[in-house]
């Protein structure tokens, strides 16, 4: 059932998965109080701040006309973070001790604990994303039914590391396999109540897109360099040939600066377009090959997205500009626009039978996403 859908080929019975009805003004109220308390508490309030924002966003997302509830607590995030820090500190202390012991007698062997620590840190970093998703799903309720995730976060971290190494070894040719493979692993592990998610996307479908993206980067770079050099040839030629030196060379380079800046900007815009084109195809491939099945019920949901490269590029560029021009204070607008975009573009087809959906039997993790907060914190 692996497919790469055409843009605009939306099934007749498609309907939005989510409806978002948040208001920027309310989000601002939450954000400003968060900001104040975070500054006053020297950052400790961050965990409660994230929880407050999530509670707002979740409660303004509806599925089948019922709102989601976020049941996580700031305390869980905070304790999770403390635990993760403790483990990291113990890990590094242990590495330090082993290194100190080995360094004198076997200088070569002493590299082993350092290398092991690096590998361990990479695996933890990958695992952190898996367990953070597990925490969020387990704290998401819909009609009293909660989500969850099956499987081992560490195994996911190991796959993350191996796929990353594959990307490096193949000079980034394996990137689609990494991205699709990791998304598939996370989706396949996800549950909501008794509903089981499944993803059949195959990265091979995306390889040509990726190849075209890389070739596009290189071509774009080459063309822009040629244009820049040609347009300020008189300046560059004197520097390269050695006709001017020292101060004179600096002056010549200075004269070409506006053209160089224009070239860099052109590269940003062009490569941004290529990147969003690739990410649009990636999202479409993953979502359109994802299903949610409730066992013992004649109910299968299929997903898809109406996302286009143009709309995604506009969203990302305008959001970055909003964040920069408001000195970061426009963050609620950015969050609001992302939430609205996701709700607007994601659709589903097929039947959903709420009466057949049963409660999750998976255990709830007691602490929240500590390693992610320690290693790769974000705003939501």
């Amino acid at each position: 059932m692996d497919q790469m859908p055409k843009a605009g080929a939306i099934p007749a019975d498609a309907r939005p998965v989510l409806a978002y009805d948040g208001k920027i003004s309310e989000l601002f109220g939450i954000f400003l109080l968060n900001l104040l308390l975070t500054i006053i508490t020297l950052g400790i309030f961050r965990f409660w701040a994230i929880t407050r924002i999530r509670r707002y966003l979740w409660s303004h997302m509806r599925f089948e006309d019922t709102r989601f509830t976020y049941t996580g607590r700031g305390k869980e995030l905070f304790l999770g973070f403390l635990l993760a820090m403790l483990i990291l500190i113990l890990m590094f202390s242990a590495v330090g001790v082993v290194f100190a012991v080995l360094a004198k007698s076997h200088p070569v062997l002493a590299a082993i604990p350092i290398g092991a620590a690096y590998l361990g840190l990479f695996i933890l970093f990958g695992a952190a994303h898996f367990s953070a998703q597990r925490y969020r799903l387990s704290r998401t309720e819909w009609r009293g039914i909660r989500g969850g995730m099956e499987g081992s976060a560490l195994r996911y971290g190991l796959s993350w590391l191996l796929l990353l190494l594959a990307c490096v070894v193949t000079l980034y040719q394996a990137v689609p396999w990494m991205q699709v493979g990791l998304a598939r692993r996370r989706i396949d592990a996800s549950r909501f109540g008794s509903a089981v998610f499944h993803c059949e996307a195959r990265a091979g479908r995306l390889y040509l897109t990726w190849l075209a993206t890389i070739v596009g980067y290189v071509l774009l770079f080459g063309v822009i360099v040629v244009i820049v050099v040609a347009s300020e040839w008189s300046s560059f030629a004197r520097v390269v040939s050695g006709a001017v030196k020292g101060q004179g060379a600096d002056a010549a380079i200075m004269r070409a600066t506006p053209v160089i800046i224009a070239g860099v900007l052109a590269f940003f815009v062009g490569s941004g377009l290529l990147t969003t084109w690739y990410y649009t195809r990636l999202s479409r491939l993953i979502l359109s090959n994802t299903t949610a099945v409730i066992p013992d019920a004649q109910a299968t949901l299929r997903f898809g997205t109406t996302m286009t490269a143009g709309s995604l590029l506009w969203l990302v560029v305008s959001n970055v500009l909003i964040a920069l021009l408001t000195l970061g204070l426009g963050l609620p607008i950015v969050l609001h626009r992302y939430a609205r975009y996701i709700a607007r573009t994601t659709y589903m087809t097929g039947t959903f039978d709420a009466n057949a959906l049963m409660q999750s039997t998976l255990a709830r993790p007691s602490l929240g996403e500590g390693f992610l907060q320690a290693l790769d914190p974000g705003i939501v």
Binding site: D21, E26, G29, L32, L33, L35, L36, T38, I39, I40, L42, G43, R46, R55, S59, H60, T66, R67, T69, E141, W142, R143, G144, I145, G193, G246, Q247, G248, D250, A251, M254, R255, T257, N319, V320, A323, L324, L327, G328, L331, V334, A354, N355, A356, L357, M358, Q359, P377, G378, I379
Partner: protein, 358 residues
């Protein structure tokens, strides 16, 4: 009309709630009792949901009860269940948060502007010296140090004279490096580094000695004000604040931009203060104090000659964005008559000019 989700299925039950003794009975269609909750175990979510619905759960029992009917809510309240208030954002709360934010940001700005200066002044000299060592080692590693012995003696003599005149506590070392830049730097711990280009620039005979002495006196001004340590502490403070507040990636970019701008404006103030101290040191030591303004004049002439003054390109003056205020205004402010002793003897000046010769 209240709704009940039993926590086992995804179905929605339309229910009525009845308080019965110390229990709450949740009754569905056909008068079937779907759940019985102990009143003492019932908790309401801290916020009313966007449709004005109150969400209730019971500890140790599954299920979610959603109530929006005002008479039923009243019944629950009378039974002793604490319900969340309406979450309307009153104007007073907005004002309170706004004032709090402005006050906090004000305190934060004071903390990153004034605090580093006080802290830097409080750091023991020995500590600051240790702080500067790695930076000097790095500098020495990438460039060749000039070792002309007589030139070094002459420079040391000038530094000592200025230090004594200004009562500068911090021990100062001065070193010349073989680099074509016409510049000098001060590292934490009183390490003054002079680039060869600066000495080459003073090529107008022994009367150019005051020019070099002026720049060195300016650097000693930085040492006296402990600017290098202040700058270090300030940038550390900025990055700490940035990580603590944690505005995410976009916020981080903005914060680092803002901190760079602020740093630039502080360093402009620091440069002006070091200029004033330089004149003061030279005058107290009885030396000619016109060198600094002549240095600025020469920098201007050089910039004019290569017509590469990029800041004037668009017709706007970007003076505010420059670390050092424009040499034009600095030249005027440091302008002094050609009176006083020359800083170096002819033999000393010759030795300094050839300090990098091997």
């Amino acid at each position: 009309m209240s709704r009940f989700h039993d926590g086992q299925h995804g179905a929605t039950h339309i229910v009525q709630v009845v308080v019965f003794g110390r229990e709450l009975r949740i009754v569905g269609a056909d008068d079937v009792t779907l759940a019985v909750w102990k009143l003492a175990q019932i908790e309401a979510a801290p916020e009313v949901d966007p449709d004005g619905v109150v969400t209730l759960t019971a500890r140790s029992q599954p299920g979610v009860l959603l109530v929006d009917d005002s008479t039923e809510l009243e019944t629950l309240q009378r039974a002793g269940i604490k319900l969340p208030g309406h979450k309307a954002w009153t104007r007073r709360r907005w004002v309170a948060v706004g004032v709090g934010l402005v006050a906090t940001i004000g305190v934060g700005i004071v903390a990153v502007t004034a605090l580093p200066r006080w802290l830097a002044a409080a750091i023991p000299i020995a500590w600051e010296q240790r702080l500067g060592e790695p930076a000097e080692a790095m500098m020495a590693g990438s460039k060749t140090r000039c070792t002309g012995e007589a030139g070094q003696v002459a420079l040391d003599r000038l530094v000592k004279r200025l230090r004594v005149a200004g009562g500068i506590e911090m021990p100062v070392t001065i070193a010349v490096f073989d680099d074509r830049l016409s510049n000098a730097f001060t590292l934490p711990g009183g390490h003054v580094l002079v680039m060869r280009g600066l000495i080459d620039m003073a090529n107008d005979g022994p009367t150019d000695g005051p020019l070099l002495a002026g720049v060195i006196a300016h650097e000693l001004g930085h040492v006296a004000h402990r600017d290098a340590a202040t700058m270090l502490l300030r940038s550390m403070g900025f990055s700490m604040l940035r990580h603590m507040v944690g505005l995410g990636d976009a916020g981080g970019v903005v914060a680092s931009g803002a901190s760079n701008l602020l740093n630039l404006s502080y360093s402009r103030a620091a440069e002006a203060a070091a200029d004033a101290t330089a004149i003061d040191l030279l005058t107290k030591a009885g030396l000619r104090a016109d060198g600094l303004s002549r240095f600025f004049a020469r920098m201007e002439r050089r910039a004019g000659a290569s017509e590469a003054k990029p800041v004037d390109r668009g017709g706007i003056t970007l003076e505010w964005f420059a670390t050092h205020p424009s040499s034009d205004s600095r030249r005027e402010r440091t302008s002094r008559p050609e009176t006083g002793e020359l800083p170096f003897t002819d033999a000393e000046w010759q030795a300094i000019r050839t300090i990098c010769a091997r």
